[in-house]
Symmetry: C2
Subunit: 217 residues, 2 copies
């Protein structure tokens, strides 16, 4: 169980979280030390980096974030968070407590894919995201939290009392939808009470709220 | 750690595997006792069942498979396999060995989604799957196995020496692409050697080959 600073390569997305943002929020919540290497999406540095990832075999999927955790290269953001939780002994330590994180994160990945597809798509796509897609997805996510949660607010808690990868994913996806105008915080509060509770509690974790205020300021 | 027979509710898909098929192959490989409750997709029984899943809250996502494992209802097929592996003590027991299963399974989910979208779509979709989509995806999956595998053939092995959820997903997705004519076994052998090795080794597990021969016979 190492304790070296985690290194994360990701995209320069400003105040938007993205997949790497979920990992960042997770690391912030757990007070893990990390450093970031961020690539610009418009200045060509990401295109160049992506090419070299394929060539060197650093990541055959050509996706970021790419993390280095105690000497191991890990990608696929949900699997990466679970790995960090495992090697830093942050997990719940019980099979069902981990299942609820895993299962929620699996459903979340569909929502993330749709958010990416629509948010960076045509005006028509953005309209569809706002009017239909986000409502359908958030209803399902809220229902799954209701069914699975083992704690008052979160799905389950790690040994240190902090939320884990599924809860970080829940926070991150609500954050990105609000940030890009696909939904308002008021709509989340009014219609998706379980998601709203995770969003609000997670955003009040001091390290998280500090990151957010620096990015919005 | 219970030992009751696992109950799986899934769709009647004949010889195609689908998401539930991956769980079934996983259970077969590990010699787990299970029983199935399969719903017809054309006789209205699935539509009816889906409605009741929403209403009763049995699965707010409205998806199958839905498993009952020692009294717990578990859904989201990858999370479900990991849960079964955990409660039946089948995992590798080391963080990186589990990471490679998790990370591969995350990438696989994208491939699964695209397979579903195209296989059950228009003729144009089926053509696109065969000519372009499967090649792109299988190249990435093969590259990820090269990067991540910790064993000669499989990504990693459980304590019982059998392959785990990521390897079951690899087998299942190749199986479904071949079964639906999106690719041939010969093409897999010729172009994706790592996937081919997992496919061939997994299909030779006696319980798995028996299931396949009964379905093809």
């Amino acid at each position: 169980m190492g304790n070296e600073k985690i290194h994360m390569k990701y995209l320069q997305l400003g105040g938007i979280g993205g997949r790497g943002g979920v990992v960042r929020f997770f690391m912030l919540a757990h007070g893990l030390e990390y450093e970031e290497e961020l690539y610009g999406m418009t200045d060509g540095s990401w295109t160049e980096r992506k090419e070299s990832m394929f060539k060197t075999g650093e990541n055959p999927a050509g996706t970021l974030p790419l993390l280095e955790v105690d000497g191991k290269q890990v990608t696929q953001h949900v699997a990466a968070m679970r790995y960090i939780a495992r090697v830093r002994d942050l997990t719940t330590g019980d099979a069902y407590g981990e299942f609820v994180q895993d299962a929620f994160a699996d459903q979340y990945q569909l929502v993330r894919d749709d958010w990416v597809r629509h948010s960076f798509g045509s005006e028509e796509d953005k309209k569809k995201l706002k009017e239909e897609v986000v409502k359908r997805h958030f209803k399902v996510l809220d229902g799954l939290i209701t069914k699975w949660q083992t704690e008052k607010v979160y799905l389950s808690l790690g040994k240190n009392g902090m939320p884990l990868w599924g809860d970080a994913a829940a926070f991150g996806i609500v954050y990105d939808h609000i940030k890009t105008g696909a939904i308002t915080k008021e709509e989340v509060d009014a219609n998706y009470p379980k998601l709203a509770a995770i969003y609000s509690n997670f955003s009040e974790i001091p390290s998280v709220s500090q990151w957010i205020s620096e990015k919005s300021g």
